[in-house]
């Protein structure tokens, strides 16, 4: 057995003997499969095209404690402080789900918002049908890792036709207890046909744990039923020493709508792998993102939009702001398969370099095998607009403040798309604080 195999097998054995409630046999089998896949392919290395700019192998081999952090028994007050009060909320601290969802008293019939463990204990039928069944997710090594070893995560299920007026919020927090440890999360979000769901997946460090070095590896799968609509907001404000690895994969059925918005505002090393498969005609996806990195931060965004079927539309806009000696990556793959005629795919990636030592690698990757398609892409890497800077300074605003203001303006375009005012304010104030701005409101 290789070293990796030994290590992963040992972790998995530890998991089974951890005294967790038993899980259905089919789930044990799928985890075993994921483990075998990961062992067979090994950790991603920078020799692989998709991992060229982000070498996670040393980090993963470093031997962070794989035993999960000890669970907290009651949700601490800070856990929900930054949350949306009107949301249906699940709190995860160091990978453990704390209690049942709050704000879930009067959910429509059949709606489930609970921990994955809870759903497994019930052997919810949708789990067996959908959990870890997407090939695109299984192919991702970090997602396989999470499938094999995560102890918990979220399960959200909307039956056919249910429009959930309030968003579901997953507050994933890390404490000092997670220091030098791996935190795994594995989630499944299902919106059955014609239902509507908004999920905010928010990752952050506890107030006293901003300097904690931990590694969070999450995998979230989304199933968007025919004519259903799902919005997924991935908000990452990890601590300055944290590694944040996230895989999000959606399968979209006919005429479904997916909105994915990712905001990366923290973490030492962040790697997001986000994909959607437009698996039936008429589906639409919007993938937007904002990443703001400074110091020695490294943020890697890999997205894949797989146009499998005709008459689907996708639009993608990622914006990056890089300061200090930070590095950013945008790799946006758009695949239009031969049968995906009348595809409309638009992609843009705009990056702002605020210092001479910051770098960004922007790589649009369009692979088009159908002929009747509209595809466009554009990438820019630049500095702040000199005309705009002069205009502000000509009004007495000093150069530093003018730069901050224009940087904020660049970021705000993405932040303004978050439909929840309280969240928008939070994200805005995080960005503004980093830019040393005050008194700005979002529109």
């Amino acid at each position: 057995m290789t070293e990796l195999a030994q290590q992963l097998r040992a972790e998995r054995a530890a998991l089974s003997s951890a005294g967790d409630p038993p899980v259905p046999g089919w789930w044990e089998e799928r985890r075993e499969q994921a483990l075998a896949t990961l062992i067979a392919r090994g950790w991603p290395t920078s020799a692989e095209e998709d991992w060229k700019y982000t070498n996670v192998a040393p980090l993963l081999q470093r031997g962070l404690a794989r035993a999960p952090a000890p669970p907290l028994t009651t949700p601490p007050a800070w856990a929900t402080r930054d949350g949306l009060p009107e949301a249906i909320t699940l709190v995860f601290v160091d990978g453990h789900c704390l209690g049942p969802a709050s704000g879930a008293a009067d959910l429509p019939n059949g709606v489930r918002v609970c921990s994955l463990r809870q759903a497994l204990a019930e052997d919810h039928p949708a789990l067996r049908a959908q959990l870890a069944q997407q090939p695109a997710l299984a192919a991702q090594p970090l997602a396989a890792w999470s499938t094999a070893l995560a102890r918990d995560g979220a399960f959200v299920y909307l039956p056919q036709g249910v429009v959930l007026a309030r968003p579901v919020q997953l507050l994933c927090l890390t404490t000092r207890g997670a220091a030098e440890r791996v935190v795994q999360l594995r989630s499944l979000l299902i919106a059955e046909p014609t239902s509507e769901l908004a999920v905010i997946e928010s990752h952050a460090a506890a107030p006293d744990a901003a300097d904690v070095a931990c590694l969070v590896n999450s995998a979230t799968e989304l199933v968007v039923g025919a004519n259903a609509s799902v919005a997924h907001y991935l908000l990452q404000r990890a601590g300055q020493a944290a590694t944040q690895l996230a895989t999000v994969q959606a399968t979209q059925h006919a005429d479904s709508r997916l909105t994915s918005l990712t905001c990366v505002l923290g973490g030492a090393l962040v790697r997001n792998t986000i994909g959607t498969r437009l698996a039936a005609p008429g589906a639409q996806s919007t993938l937007d993102g904002l990443f703001f990195a400074g110091g020695r931060q490294h943020v890697d965004n890999h997205t894949t939009i797989d146009h499998e079927q005709p008459r689907c539309a996708s639009s993608e806009c990622y914006k990056g702001i890089l300061d200090g000696a930070a590095t950013g990556v945008f790799n946006g793959k758009v695949l239009v398969r031969p049968q995906a005629q009348q595809t409309d795919a638009r992609q843009s990636n705009h990056n702002l370099l605020l210092s001479a030592t910051a770098t960004v690698n922007s790589k649009p990757q369009l692979e088009i095998f159908a002929d009747d398609v509209k595809c466009s892409h554009g990438a820019t890497i630049g500095q702040l607009d000199a005309e705009a800077l002069f205009y502000l300074r000509a009004r007495g605003i000093d150069e530093g403040a003018a730069r901050s203001l224009l940087t904020w303006a660049f970021a705000s375009e993405v932040i303004e798309r978050v439909p929840f005012a309280a969240l928008r304010r939070q994200l805005a104030s995080t960005v503004q604080q980093r830019l040393g701005l005050s008194g700005l409101t979002t529109t």
Partner: protein, 259 residues
């Protein structure tokens, strides 16, 4: 107020201003006219501190200080204001935040307290009323999707809020309809006093009917080739620039004929 002597400026190797002499006293209104490309905007931008131009000669004194030694924002805080020929759109920056930041930057420099949000809005409302501007504009991104006329009024609104010592208006009248022109002129006239000076760049004599200048200058080929009073503008309106010949382009014969 402002004293320009022998000012020369270039873009790269290309000289644009070739020795400008101009003196503007407190409370005076000067107008500069001249053909397209003669250097009017360049002059205004060089005075405002645009770094794309190299000042290759001459000096500028503003309110007793060496203007050319100040950076862009210092000039603005000292009371020099440029209304842009092409105001710049700032998507994502609301007009109210922009205006308030600018007003407070200038106030801080003058040793005045920051205006509170409420006091600022009240001041804005007053000034906007004078310029017949819709208050909703404050919530929009600066110049983003503004009509030509809205942009120009927004420039004058900034002028009214910042209360500079010297305002340079670069073709503020271009693109305004007749009513808007009168409104803008009324706004400018309301700001005229014994101390505040104006330098207006325009192509049209009509503006000068509403804002009557003390002096009119003609800029051709980067030099002021003629100065006079408002009658000069009327004469230009009728006869164009053809009868004035820039010294460096004058042929010996033409120079002799003039002499």
């Amino acid at each position: 107020m402002l004293e320009i002597s022998g000012l020369q400026a270039a873009i790269g190797e290309q000289p644009i201003l070739r020795g400008i002499d101009l003196k503007i006293g407190p409370g005076e209104v000067h107008a500069i006219m001249g053909p397209n490309g003669s250097g009017k905007t360049t002059l205004a931008q060089v005075l405002a501190g645009r770094e794309d131009y190299d000042v290759t000669g001459g000096s500028v004194t503003f309110a007793g200080r060496d203007l050319l030694a100040l950076n862009v924002e210092q000039r603005a805080r000292e009371g020099l204001f440029l209304a842009f020929q092409y105001p710049v759109a700032l998507p994502g920056v609301t007009s109210s935040y922009f205006l308030r930041t600018a007003v407070n930057a200038v106030r801080a420099h003058r040793g005045q307290d920051e205006l509170s949000g409420k006091a600022f809005l009240e001041l804005c409302r007053q000034r906007m009323e004078l310029l017949q501007m819709k208050p909703e504009l404050l919530q929009r991104a600066v110049n983003d999707g503004f009509s030509g006329g809205e942009k120009k009024r927004h420039e004058i609104l900034q002028l009214a809020l910042l209360e500079p010592r010297l305002a340079l208006l670069d073709e503020t009248d271009s693109g305004l309809d007749i009513d808007a022109l009168q409104t803008v002129a009324r706004g400018v006239n309301a700001l005229r006093d014994a101390q505040r000076s104006f330098l207006m760049i325009t192509h049209y004599q009509r503006l000068l009917d509403y804002i009557v200048p003390d002096y009119v200058h003609v800029l051709v080929g980067g030099r002021i080739v003629k100065s006079g009073d408002k009658e000069l503008a009327l004469h230009l309106e009728e006869h164009g620039y053809g009868w004035i010949v820039a010294p460096e382009t004058a042929t010996p014969a033409a120079a002799a004929a003039r002499a």
